[in-house]
Structures are given as C-alpha cells and as structure tokens.
Amino acid sequence: MPPESLRCKECQTVYPLDARYVCEQCFGPLEVAYAAPDDIDPAELRRRIQAGPHSLWRYGDFLPVNALPQGHLPAGWTPLLRADRLAERLGLKEVWIKNDAANPTHSFKDRVVSIALARARELGFETIACASTGNLANAVAAHAAAAGLESYVFIPSNLEEQKVLATGIYGTNVVGVRGNYDDVNRLCTEISGEHEWAFVNINMRPYYAEGSKTLAYETAEQLGWELPDRVVAPIASGSLFTKIARGFQEWIDLGLLDGTLPTFNGAQAAGCSPVASAFADGKDFCRPVKPDTIAKSLAIGNPADGPYALDLARRSSGTIESVTDDEIREGIRLLAQTTGIFTETAGGVTTAVLAKLAQRGDIDPDERVVAYITGEGLKTLDAVRGTFEAWEIDPSIEAFEAANERVSALA
C-alpha cells in the first residue's frame, strides 16, 4: 500500500505528499491516501508482518514513509494485557488493556512522532517542533535527540513539572507559553507559516496522525488476528480515536481481519468535554470550551478532529462520555489496584469511562473490550497525592506490630 497523495477529507482535492495539512480550497484536513494494493495474500502479509521488527515499523507497509528510518528510537509493540481482575470488578468477562505507557517516553505520542519525524527527514527538514500538552513534548524532544535534529517544543507554562523536566533533559528548546493549550496551538499554527520547520502536529499532521493506526494493528495482531467488539479510548483532538478505527477498517478491507468495525466509546474529562457535549446534544460539530481539568493531556478545548470523532461514535453504535476529576482519580486507582498498571490522568479518564459504561449496563458481559491506556502515572503524580497514608514507625518490631494492629482495627 504505497502512499500516493494527500487528500482532503471534506472535498477530496488531491495534493502531493509534502509538508501541508490544510486544503487550500475548503480548509478541510488532509489525510494520506494509499494506492490500492495489487492481489493481497492475507497469509503472506501476516507472515511478513510477523517477521518484522518488534516496533511499529513492522507495519511499515501501511505507513506514509518510503523506507524504514535509520538511527531512530523504536516505538510501539507495547503489551496487550488481559485484565481479568478488572473485568471481574466491572462484571465483564473479557477486558484487555493496551498499555501504551510502555513506550520510550511513556506515552502513545512516541508512535505519532516516529512517523512525523521519519517523513520530515525524507522531506529534508532539520528542525522539528510541536504544540504540546506535555506527552508530545517529551516524545518530540527525545526522538529529535536520537535523530540529531534541532527541536522546539511549545507547551502551556502551567504544565505538570514532571512533563517539563522529562522534556528539557533531551536538550530541546522548551517554550512555555502563558496560556492554555489552545493558545499554544494558535500561536504554533501562526509560527508554522513563518518558519521552515516540521511541526509534527501542524504541517506534518497528516503523517503524524497515521501513527495512531498502529495501535489498531498491534491490538489485532496481539489478539491473534482478531477484532475486539468494543474499544474505549480517550479523546483530546480526536485524532487517536478516529485513527484506531481507520487502522481496523484498513485491515478489514484488505482481508487481514474478519468482522466489522468495533463499537467505539470515547472518553473525555468533564472539565474539557467539547466532543462529549456535542455527542449528548446531537450536534455534528463541537463548540470550543476553556479547559479546567486535572487531565491536562486531554485538555484541548478546540478539538481538530471533533466532527470525525462524533461521526465514528455514532456510526459504530458507540458513545462519547465524560467523567469528573474525582472519577478520574478513582479510575487511576481502579486500574492500578486491579492490573498493576499506574496510568496518568488520561488513563484515569479512560478507565473511569469503561467503569461507567459497565455500571450502566451498556456493555454486554460477553463482549471483548479493549481499553487504550495512553500514558504513564509517574508524569502526573499530583493527581494521586494525598490519596493514601504511609505508615511511619521506629525501627523496631514492637513499633511495627503496634502500627499494624492500629491499622487493622481501622480497616
């Protein structure tokens, strides 16, 4: 499936495969179009994938680059874990956690940056940049360092300290912008018009977004070339959510998978839920909001792919839900205490929405459900501060036994 062109999702105008993201005719988003494959032998294609590297580049045939990049930080091929204790707690039978915190910079952003950076190098760029809520900044800085490229990352100045520190260490230019993510994004959209840089999520966005398809490919391969019945995934811009569906659909169309598109449930924080609100109101576009939530990695008030996320949820018989900050903290705890996976606030949003759907009876107990955990708990420690007490004792066995008795009596 060689990449053929960029095509407008709205009016179908076709453009060459260069650094552009907007249709000049209608301002719609551009997406990579691939040449129709010749005779596909699904068994042969599966063998070819299985013989590939243990990274997302095993799916190079479905990605918009000409050749596998040299000197890169390998991303993807993260664990898909069966979460029986979580399933039992929720009254379900088969729940899987795709743990994308197990990436080089601990979030799914390593996937999208891998593709954007590889394509940027093919196009001859020497500087890469991004507008980020934090995880993307980590990934851009790290992948640029590995590739020896200059980088600029623009973030809201009030971001979690862990995310700032874990970005600056790579030797990038960290630009804290006094404003929220949507302000950062507006500024970067303007800057991208004036500098010859590859902004991974602006002028390289059509390539970048394709990276999220690999979440679907991996899930299907790890399930033994089968589809889940239901997907629960977070929504910020809506790109990951819609590209997971595109990944499954491509493989269904190629005959690599049997069945139909899973039901898609999107997860947002109540403090920034423009897509969930539009879904509830029956609208096909999103009204922007000013974010106010602990889930900063999902705090996009003006989601670029909102209309497409709404369409996907509706045509797959899914929904888009929102959960409060308290439910997010409870979601983080639930996932940690049933699976051993400590996720950041975005994963708390996803887990809380999964729990909400299960409690409401929206999920048939026989369904196979996959929840996408997109980031690492160590990056948002403030969200769990004060949620439990540690014991402090003198170094004697008497002190321990006394404390143990006290705590047991309270339990």
């Binding site: 709205e10 993201y21 303007e190 999520n201 602006i202 792919d305």
Partner: protein, 90 residues
C-alpha cells in the same frame, strides 16, 4: 475603523501573496466582507451559507470569536483579526 487582518499562508494565493490586509468594519462579519470585496476568491474558500466553514477559526486579538459574539463581535480601531485553519494540534 481600520482593522488588520492576518492571512494564513494557505490563503495567500488568493490575496496576491499578502500576509495581512488593513480593512474597515465595525464587526468581524463586516471586516470579513470588506476583505472579500478586495480579494474575491477568499469568500468561497472560507465562507459558507453566510457563516464560516467549519474548519476555519477566526480570532480577535488572540481570542476565538466563538467565545465572543461570533461574526457579530465588535472590533475597534487597531484590533487584529487572525484567520487560521482549525485542523492543527492534538
């Protein structure tokens, strides 16, 4: 009332390469109408059914007009109106 409108690179083919234009108008809608007067091709690219296409964002001094009064948002002398694609980020 003279207002500066910043034109994104994707639209400069329709503005003879100009990156900004100074036009008169008391509201964002009037400013855009004045802009379409000068550069006829712009209207089809960003306007639809009397409003804006859904992937077009317009800001007055950095604030999205959807948080203000939309196309009825009042502008004053020296304000800066920015047109940008909505599909960036995330």
């Amino acid at each position: 009332m003279a207002v500066k409108v910043k034109i994104p690179t994707q639209l400069r083919a329709a503005t003879e390469g100009e990156a900004s234009a100074s036009v008169d108008g008391a509201t964002v809608g009037e400013v855009l109408d004045a802009l379409y007067e000068r550069f006829g091709e712009l209207r089809n690219r960003i306007a639809e059914d009397g409003g804006l296409r859904r992937f077009v964002n317009v800001y007055v001094d950095g604030e999205d007009i959807r948080f203000l009064d939309g196309l009825d948002t009042a502008v004053k002398d020296g304000d800066e109106v920015t047109i940008l694609p909505a599909v960036a980020g995330g």
